[in-house]
Assembly symmetry: C2
Homo-oligomer: 200 residues x 2
Amino acid sequence: MPERSPKWQARRQEIVDTSARLFARNGYHATGITELCEANDLGKGALYHYIGSKEELLVAIHDRVMDEVMGGADRVAASGGSPSAQLAMLGDELLDIIDRYPDHVWVFLHEFHVLTGDNAKQFSGRRRDYERRVEAILQLGVDTGEFRDIDPWLTARAWLGMHNYTYLWLQAGGRVSARDVAKPFAELFVRGIGKPTPAK
Amino acid sequence: MPERSPKWQARRQEIVDTSARLFARNGYHATGITELCEANDLGKGALYHYIGSKEELLVAIHDRVMDEVMGGADRVAASGGSPSAQLAMLGDELLDIIDRYPDHVWVFLHEFHVLTGDNAKQFSGRRRDYERRVEAILQLGVDTGEFRDIDPWLTARAWLGMHNYTYLWLQAGGRVSARDVAKPFAELFVRGIGKPTPAK
């Protein structure tokens, strides 16, 4: 089987997903290569054939989330909606990802500091790209007068904290669905930064 | 030196703080007893004399944060302010703790799932107590008509995410101080859940 064939890619993705579950349950450091081999039903050589190293596996888990996250941000940018509509749509996209990839997101938010060298740099860069998308929507709202004169940098961090942190309690089949959360969150946030409508 | 003397307690606290710094930098699992001994300038026997076990050290780090957090919540409850004033004050207290204990909070939010048995149960209980304080303020605001008809459970989680998540970027001497963050966060949140003032 030649490397990078669709079959190889699919098997690799499967390994990434299985390993994310293991890391999310037991932690990255506490999970050994032996357990990764067992969970993926592979020998050590075969595992390395797919993943290269344990850190590369972590990179792949991060990329899986970041690809989705940036894809969502692209759709929002292409939508051409008002700043508040864009912000609501971005929250909807983000919560949907957190809901669909709970293990990946757990690993993503808990173990990103384990990455070293270029891996760490690349990850920070992608994360920063996303933060800039949030800041840009907020800045647009300030510029058009839809939002108050808020600090886009600080407000983006409020928004990110509110949404990202849902990974701790947003569970498939849990009390609330991603959509049940996205709507009231968007309402709270947009009211919070919106200009009060003038008295008639 | 008899155990539990003020001197013993002070030395133990020092060990807890030094170890929190180490865990925050390198992770709980990756930090061995040897490194803890070196950082605290103690032999293995002496270290265990103060901390009992590595997990007890984690418990002590959690308690150090939770004691402060609950102390803040008690002050807010005793203040007798309006729901929005209480919420602003609670945020101020919480961000101040995150600012003063960055290492402890990092360990607290990253490694709580490492706790086992009664330790895990006790920690969840204290955490739940705090969440209930936030929910109670929100419920009070709904009852008095100061807030919209929001879901206190869900809204408490938005508030907690927004505030707790600051540990990732709120740094001593950083771009913004805890107070610089608490004020706009409170404004955003209270506007977000407040009833629009009726047109005059």
